[in-house]
């Protein structure tokens, strides 16, 4: 029997495949939230990333890897520009971060900028020209169990495996990382230490935007074969929920992202295996599980609020200490 075709391995491999965009977006949101900025615009930023990556992929000609890297870069830049709106409103203008983030999702989301760009770029109806394909790393792709999980994934999956330790090292082992955490916990103290609170918040909101853009690019370059308005279908919101689930720690975001990747992939995997249930049952699974998991982590043993930055969502005004 082929071990790699067993249900468990297939689900685990596709959990990684579908979890990766969630991982990018939630690590980005996590960094922004660690600096004290809650950005509910992830869904919108992801869609802007998705549309600009798809546009680049259709219009740039060249070898696959050049086009794909350029597309991811363009997606990251476009989403960074989008997140700048939130940064200005939340950090400089001290606006309500919840409303500002929602505004960002309405502005950029499925019925906003991303759909507008998709329309004026005539992206609908064409199959994508370049895509992230699974790379057989070191020729080990056929190894039992580990092959499909570790050695047969696409380049963005490998990039996300670099991202997580990088984010951990940055947050826990470097001075700027220490400052980010200080700015998120107690901006007064950080300010007194001479840390530029506004600059840290700006930079991390923008990094959050860039990573959401990469997550969006994953949807249009690896998952969906053509451009569809609102193709992320709530992944941005699940990424925000994952930050809470992960107690604001990158390593746990990895676990959470793959867990939700598994829920998202279950529909395809089980249908392919002739499990007959209405598609809505599978499709609602990621959303329902988000609620269940959030309830679970917000009560009981987790109530000690491990990790939530104390100043999350609170504007910092030096004169009003």
């Amino acid at each position: 029997m082929n071990l790699n075709a067993t249900l468990l391995v297939v689900i685990a491999a596709s959990a990684i495949f579908y979890g990766t965009p969630l991982l990018f977006a939630s690590v980005g949101e996590l960094l922004a939230e660690r600096s004290g900025v809650l950005n509910l615009g992830v869904e919108g930023m992801m869609l802007v990333g998705a549309v600009s990556a798809f546009w680049t992929g259709q219009h740039l000609h060249g070898p696959d890897w050049v086009v794909l890297s350029a597309a991811v870069l363009v997606a990251a830049l476009a989403a960074t520009a989008t997140s700048l709106i939130h940064a200005v409103l939340a950090v400089s203008l001290r606006a309500n971060q919840i409303v500002s983030g929602l505004a960002l999702t309405i502005f950029a989301g499925a019925a906003g900028l991303s759909s507008y760009l998709g329309n004026i770029g005539h992206l609908g109806g064409h199959a994508r020209l370049h895509e992230f394909k699974a790379v057989d790393l070191f020729g080990l792709g056929q190894t039992p169990i580990l092959g499909p999980l570790v050695f047969h994934q696409n380049a963005l999956v490998y990039a996300s495996w670099l991202l997580v330790p990088l984010a951990m090292f940055y947050l826990y082992r470097t001075r700027p990382g220490l400052h980010v955490r200080a700015v998120g916990e107690s901006p007064e103290t950080a300010d007194a230490m001479g840390v530029n609170v506004a600059a840290y918040r700006y930079v991390h909101t923008l990094i959050g935007g860039a990573l959401a853009g990469v997550g969006g690019a994953y949807f249009s370059l690896a998952i969906s074969p053509n451009w569809v308005d609102g193709m992320t279908s709530g992944a941005g919101w699940i990424a925000i929920a994952l930050v809470i689930f992960a107690f604001w720690r990158p390593e746990l975001a990895l676990v959470g992202a793959y867990l939700f990747g598994a829920f998202s992939s279950l529909a395809f995997t089980l249908q392919a295996r002739q499990v007959h249930l209405p598609p809505e049952v599978f499709n609602s699974l990621p959303y329902l599980m988000t609620i269940v998991v959030l309830v679970f982590v917000s009560t009981g043993w987790a109530k000690r609020r491990l990790g939530a930055p104390a100043s999350l969502g609170v504007p910092y005004v030096r004169e009003e200490r």
Partner: protein, 364 residues
């Protein structure tokens, strides 16, 4: 330049800021159209003409304004207590499910019975759907923003299950065509809500329901003990707790109230306009999210919500009806987002005073 907190806010600012936000958003949208090769002045003037001045425009605007009014009230009711119900979209859908269920069940009854029953059923299912995130927030401390939003997607799947993937009570199975191309049961003439005509203007019954609800919400929040407690908790949760207010119950009540208002919007979608449970049409317009824009621009004042819903209804209706090659989809969302950004930036002027003065120069 210094920014300092205002102790009192002049009354005129509360009016000027939303109006200026609306204008600024139109200008910004114009800049974006210019950047993408469209003529902003022509687009904007067509938008305003189609929304408010063309023949039949006002009636069409009221069709869009009706759900916006009710979802706007839903957002205003919840946001006043800083309870972030982002789930009006799903509550509207579930309200439509409830109302159409009641309409189908009572189809051979008199309108006097059917219409109130549809309103009650829509309000109750909306309230129940809204109470879920409320209960989770109150008793499990779960972030209501995310749970209410997740339930929007679930509601969308519930309604598409009812029509497309099951032989449910809502689905029309009477003809062969209806079995091949799934659609909802038609509710029948007795379940159609009466529209009021004033000259050429047609006012949907649901809009009047919305106006009455707005007045009711205004009175509830301004003059009752319940409203007082909601406002106190909204301004300072700690003060509310210290005064012995039962915050958890209030959260559930406010979420249910908010859900009921959105659910009424769903009932009106069925009774006033669609007369059939229509999964695609109900979700396409994104009325739930637009309600947040309405509430924010109205600064959470229920009476102002009426006016803002009308204005935004005009822009939204025009945006959707003009949709085409030189008026790409997505413009409506862009405009709504920009309005919200400008309203938020304007809040700064309401709460703070910008004072220009020379820097003190240290004596040499």
């Amino acid at each position: 330049m210094r920014i300092e907190r205002r102790l009192t806010t002049p009354r005129w600012l509360r009016v000027v800021v939303p109006v200026a936000s609306l204008l600024a958003a139109l200008v910004l949208a114009g800049v974006m159209e210019l950047a993408t090769g469209h003529d902003p002045i022509a687009t904007t003037s067509r938008l305003i003409d189609r929304g408010f001045f063309a023949s039949g425009a006002l009636s069409a605007t009221l069709v869009t304004a009706t759900p916006l009014l009710l979802t706007g009230l839903a957002a205003a009711a919840a946001f006043r207590m800083l309870t972030w119900n982002i789930g009006a979209e799903g509550q509207l859908v579930m309200g439509a499910v409830g109302a159409s269920g009641a309409g189908i069940f009572l189809h051979d009854q008199a309108p006097v019975l059917i219409i109130p029953a549809m309103m009650a059923a829509g309000g109750l299912t909306g309230a129940a759907w809204g109470a879920i995130p409320g209960l989770l927030r109150a008793y499990f401390n779960t972030n209501e923003i995310i749970t209410s939003l997740m339930l929007n997607y679930v509601a969308g799947l519930v309604i598409s299950y009812l029509i497309f993937d099951s032989h449910s009570y809502w689905r029309d199975l009477s003809t062969f065509t209806a079995r091949v191309f799934p659609q909802g049961k038609y509710l029948g003439p007795a379940a159609s809500w009466p529209a009021l005509g004033a000259g050429s203007l047609v006012i949907p019954f649901g809009f009047l329901v919305g106006v009455v609800s707005a007045a009711g919400l205004f009175v509830l929040y301004r003059y009752t003990r319940f409203g007082y407690e909601v406002r106190v908790i909204g301004d300072s949760r700690a003060a509310g707790r210290y005064a012995g207010m039962r915050i958890n119950r209030k959260i559930v009540a406010v979420m249910a109230l908010s859900g009921a208002l959105a659910g009424l919007g769903g009932a009106s979608q069925i009774g006033d306009f669609r007369h059939v449970l229509d999964p695609r049409g109900l979700q396409q317009a994104g009325y739930g999210y637009a309600g947040i824009v309405v509430a924010a621009l109205a600064q959470l004042n229920p009476l102002a919500v009426i006016l803002v819903a009308f204005l935004l209804g005009g822009l939204t209706n025009a945006g959707y009806s003009l949709q085409g090659p030189d008026f790409p989809a997505g413009l409506v969302g862009i405009l709504q987002g920009l309005i919200l950004f400008c309203a938020l930036a304007g809040e700064l002027l309401v709460r703070y005073r910008v004072r220009f003065r020379r820097l003190m120069v240290a004596p040499a």
